[in-house]
């Protein structure tokens, strides 16, 4: 208890968003008071709303548009211990030309790899990675001891700055769920601020920071909402549901609750934050439900790569099969897409 009270007065990093919203006296105590003052989530209502949004019927031309949009919003991902430079090169090849039989297929938004694979991804992308290139593909790197986040601050920061130095455009960081669940919000907050600073490039620009909440470990919708606020206040450009290594990963209700925070933040400050559901989205049909949810919650303007992404690996193949079905009029099969 004494420790709690001592720490409560500790000041936390003076992130500008938090200063604006919470006020000048930015301490562990004021941060906690703010986060715990956020109204709770009506879980039943949230799930019912998500289920209702999932019943929309999207057909023909709307479906074709939705499928292309899903591809454009995809972070094509490989995050395996067994990843090799060759695997990353074939991932990049698929990112650039998702369907060699149909060159009208759009490119994905980014490839998402572990930090040490960033140089291989950058090299394989070549001119497709240049600023202003048509159909530019970003390189996203997971950092901060992904997926557990269990490492010292210095390791997490050098993990991040290494990836940025190697050419990563986007950093997917994990929050310290242990600290969050024990109520040490200030520690989580400071860490995000520090990682954001580590995203700074020599020319003064920043790599985009996606904050992974790992909602599967946060247990309640209230925690998801609180963590979303925390991630945004600390300076995250995107809030992302999961690492994909924990079940449950992205679900529609969880994503909906995060979108609601983003909507509220936009109303409060006029600033647009991105959302990235990741993990467990394997079917086009599910992905379309996410598009509907985004359009109905924050608006259609969010359906662009700067503000919404899917973190997925097998989703792309299913979208390609659906695309082939729309083009040819017959059902396609797994033999007509690559084995990743």
């Amino acid at each position: 208890m004494t420790m709690e009270t001592t720490r409560a007065g500790t000041t936390v990093a003076p992130a500008s968003r938090a200063l604006d919203v919470i006020g000048g006296d930015l301490t562990e105590r004021s941060l906690r008071r703010y986060l715990e003052g956020i109204p709770g989530v009506d879980a039943v209502g949230l799930e019912a709303r998500a289920a209702a949004l999932g019943t929309r019927s999207i057909k023909t031309t709307s479906k074709a548009w939705a499928l292309d949009t899903i591809i454009r919003l995809t972070d094509l991902t490989t995050l395996e211990g067994a990843d090799t430079p060759g695997k990353v090169r074939s991932l990049v090849a698929k990112a650039m030309v998702p369907d060699p039989d149909d060159m009208s297929t759009p490119r994905v938004a980014a490839v998402c790899v572990y930090g040490d694979m960033v140089p291989h991804a950058v090299e394989a992308l070549g001119s497709a990675h240049d600023d202003g290139a048509p159909g530019r593909i970003n390189v996203a790197a997971v950092a901060t001891a992904f997926p557990s986040g269990r490492a010292s601050r210095s390791v997490k920061l050098s993990d991040t700055s290494d990836a940025v130095a190697a050419g990563a455009d986007e950093i997917d960081m994990v929050i310290d769920r242990g600290a969050f669940l024990s109520g040490r919000y200030g520690q989580v907050f400071d860490e995000i601020v520090a990682v954001k600073e580590a995203c700074k490039r020599p020319d003064g620009t920043y790599a985009h920071l996606k904050v992974i909440l790992e909602t599967g470990e946060l247990n309640t919708y209230d925690n998801v909402r609180r963590a979303s606020w925390l991630g945004i206040l600390a300076g995250g450009d995107f809030i992302k549901t999961s690492t994909g290594k924990v079940t449950p990963a992205a679900t529609l209700p969880v994503t909906l609750s995060m979108l609601e925070v983003v909507r509220d933040w936009h109303r409060l400050t006029g600033e647009k934050i991105g959302v990235k559901p990741a993990g467990g989205i394997r079917a086009s049909k599910d992905a379309i439900k996410y598009l509907v949810t985004v359009a109905e919650t924050v608006g259609e303007e969010w359906l662009q790569p700067d503000l919404f992404r899917f973190g997925a690996s097998s989703l792309l193949n299913d979208v390609l099969l659906q695309r082939q079905k729309l083009t040819s009029g017959r059902y396609s099969g797994p033999a007509y897409v690559t084995i990743d």
Partner: protein, 293 residues
């Protein structure tokens, strides 16, 4: 006081589960004789999306079913005969009521179907020896050709309620497909689908893995074109498609290089033969060096 009849809901059999059509549709199948407990029943009417789901289920079952040994597949097919034998009376009653034949004729059809399962079960660990070959080549190599299952086979079972009968026709079409390790999506007789749908219950209780046989009652004219054009179907058995525009089906199937068996008519349609087994196989040839001492 007479007891209320409890009519059975005849549902599709897809992926080892008895499901209603995703479309919610049913169609009426009327008895031709008054001996059955009700005068007509509703059978599920499959849609193209049911066909799509059935192909997914069949594809998922290919590796497991084709991966079992021929001996093991034979045991499972024999088990079908055993379970079917235990339910002869039920099948005879359904066939008699819905095909308009006498109970003794119906029983004879059931018996023939049972015997046919046993006959095809025997082939499961033998057809490779007959259809495969050790080829003579001019060089120090063993050169072996072996038949392997082609994958997912779409089957249109004989449609007439008469010869060879709804149950026997179904078994004649499906059994040879299964012998080598293929999985099947089958459209049974539209007019008399009940024996086939009840046979689904036999599959479900006789060690046949889920998805190996999928049964879609309904209109072949509606579903068959989707199966014929489906890129994930490897072969098409048009045995009972004589009344359809089957040349169109053949053309649709050619787009994705499917093997296609043409329709047959009359009492000998789909008569048991080794050719029906080997038609749904692909030949794999292996070269291997002979050891030099």
């Amino acid at each position: 006081m007479s007891r209320l009849a409890v009519p059975k809901t005849y549902k599709l059999y897809v992926g080892g589960k008895f499901i209603r059509s995703e479309s919610g549709r049913v169609y009426e199948v009327a008895t031709t004789k008054g001996s059955f407990s009700v005068s007509s029943v509703n059978a599920a009417k499959a849609s193209r999306k049911d066909a799509r789901d059935a192909v997914v289920a069949a594809r998922a079952a290919v590796s497991g079913w084709s991966g079992t040994t021929g001996y093991n597949r034979g045991q499972v097919l024999y088990r079908i005969a055993e379970i079917l034998d235990g339910r002869r009376a039920q099948f005879a009653e359904e066939i008699a009521a819905f095909e308009g034949v006498s109970v003794s004729t119906a029983t004879a059809q059931v018996d023939e179907a049972i015997d046919l399962w046993v006959w095809y079960a025997g082939w499961a660990d033998k057809y490779v020896q007959v259809a495969g070959n050790g080829n003579a080549v001019s060089g120090p190599f063993f050169n072996l050709s072996v038949p392997e299952p082609t994958g997912v086979v779409a089957v249109i079972a004989p449609q007439g309620a008469g010869v060879p009968g709804s149950l026997l026709g179904f078994v004649r079409a499906v059994a040879p497909v299964l012998v080598s390790g293929n999985t099947a999506v089958v459209i049974p007789s539209e007019r008399a689908p009940l024996a086939a749908l009840s046979l689904g219950e036999v599959f479900a209780t006789s060690d046949v893995p889920a998805g190996v046989v999928n049964i879609l009652s309904g209109s072949p004219a509606e579903i068959a074109p989707w199966l014929a054009a489906h890129a994930d179907v490897n072969a098409l058995d048009l045995l009972g498609a004589g009344e359809l525009e089957w040349v169109d089906l053949q053309i649709a199937a050619a787009d994705t290089l499917k093997r296609v068996l043409p329709p047959e008519q009359g009492p000998d349609a789909g008569a048991p033969s080794l050719d029906r087994i080997t038609f749904f196989t692909e030949t794999k040839t292996v070269w291997h060096t002979k050891g030099l001492l």
